[in-house]
């Protein structure tokens, strides 16, 4: 039994061969990382930092002070160069490691203003790219093993995003969250988009979409129990979910839907005998 379990884990984590996935995914992921590195104007943040920046968590111990603008600029430049090197395919793993550290620093400095965002998942994805060698005709067994591991870890992070979101809603309010629908209705109104404003005028629509959202998120608890094509379908549905949140609330987590789309097509396109 022990041996069968070990074989199952081994096969699940290391025998995926996701070369086709990693032939496409870095081209989608790295531009998002580059955009995120330059997205916010830290010059303005510097002026509000003394009264709004409150470091917490692990980083508080090692980086307790808000950086100078020149430090931020240096991290951005180094991180951006690393992303460009990683995209080029040369030294891609070392470059991904540098980009990961830069992005993690920028995310930390930004996050400690109390922003609600899910960009940390992008940071982990870039970190996991340090395991992935650029595709080549002579792919070694070790490179295949690590690429498989990277895919599985990214997949886990994305699955947990939805599962955690469902858990947070259910633990806060139970099924009332969806049955009542007002959380989504208020969010639509407050986010200020015309489509969201219009949707907020109907309690029935709010309830239907709340059930759909919670149902989708909760279905990720079963992700590893269903066949791979079903997993692909779940990821595609999550992609549609993000399209909806973008159109009605202007909320976009590009790294999540990019992964969903690429992974869904990869999983669905695998032949029946493969272990994806």
């Amino acid at each position: 039994v022990k041996s069968r379990f070990a074989n199952l884990i081994n096969s699940f984590l290391f025998e995926l061969r996701p070369a086709r996935f990693f032939g496409v995914f870095p081209w989608l992921l790295y531009p998002i990382a580059l955009f995120e590195m330059w997205r916010y104007d830290f010059r303005i943040y510097e002026s509000i930092a003394p009264w709004l920046w409150q470091p917490s968590g692990f980083f508080r111990l090692i980086l307790p002070h808000f950086p100078t603008i020149s430090s931020v600029l240096a991290v951005r430049v180094v991180g951006s160069l690393a992303v460009l090197v990683a995209i080029s395919g040369k030294w891609s793993r070392s470059a991904a490691a540098v980009a990961f550290v830069a992005l993690l620093l920028l995310d930390y400095w930004h996050n400690m203003f109390g922003f609600i965002d899910a960009r940390i998942h992008l940071v982990w994805m870039i970190g996991l790219m340090t395991l992935v060698k650029a595709p080549s005709p002579q792919q070694t067994a070790e490179a295949d093993l690590l690429a498989s591991l990277a895919f599985r870890c990214m997949e886990l992070i994305v699955v947990l995003v939805y599962a955690q979101s469902a858990y947070a809603k259910i633990s806060n309010a139970g099924l009332t969250w969806a049955g009542e629908g007002s959380t989504l209705q208020i969010a639509w109104l407050r986010q200020g988009l015309p489509l969201g404003h219009w949707l907020a005028s109907s309690v029935l629509v709010a309830k239907i979409f709340s059930w759909l959202a919670l149902g989708l998120e909760a279905s990720f608890f079963t992700y590893y129990l269903v066949p791979r094509k079903m997993r692909g379908a779940l990821l595609l549905t999550a992609f549609l979910f993000h399209t909806g949140t973008f159109l009605t609330m202007n909320i976009s987590f590009a790294h999540l839907w990019v992964f969903n789309l690429a992974a869904a097509f990869y999983l669905i396109s695998q032949s029946p005998g493969t272990k994806a």
């Binding site: 916010y40 303005i44 968590g57 870890c153 309010a173």
Partner: protein, 150 residues
């Protein structure tokens, strides 16, 4: 082969570590950054939501959206984010914001704080109701410690 074995041990630990860390963060209410679970929009508001929102106008009576003045996400999303911060330092926050805004656009501003309630009306449509409204202060360009840093 030995190297591959070690890599597999590392891989197994990495996968298990990510799962364990994220599950711990999801269950814990502490801030464990960088292990942040995704909790957006999970707060139940079935009794409606109350929050403080700021209305800003110039001396000539023109109403400003904060995001028109400061093009950064913190202020673009101020209605959501203020709710969190206002609970900690309401007066200090509004005063600082006032100073920051005046420094940015170079004219005197009036800041009105509104206690707002989001609640369904009789038809079920979500409504924004102003419960209270007060002028929090008139900050002038002369009291601007932040101006130089902008």
């Amino acid at each position: 082969l030995n190297r591959q074995r070690y890599l597999k041990i590392f891989g197994g630990l990495l996968f298990a570590g990510i799962a364990a860390a994220q599950i711990t963060a999801a269950i814990s209410s502490a801030n464990l950054y960088p292990l942040n679970p995704y909790r957006m929009f999970s707060t139940p508001w079935h009794n409606g939501a109350k929050m403080l929102e700021l209305q800003i106008s110039t001396a000539s009576g023109k109403h400003l959206n904060v995001s028109e003045v400061l093009d950064i996400p913190f202020f673009q999303n101020h209605r959501i984010l203020y709710n969190g911060f206002v609970a900690k330092h309401p007066i200090e926050l509004e005063s600082k914001l006032c100073q920051l805004l005046v420094a940015r656009i170079g004219e005197n501003l009036n800041v009105v704080a509104e206690g707002v309630r989001y609640e369904r009306d009789h038809s079920g449509a979500m409504d924004r109701i102003i419960e209270r409204q007060e002028i929090r202060g008139h900050c002038t360009k002369t009291s601007l410690p932040l101006e130089s840093s902008l």
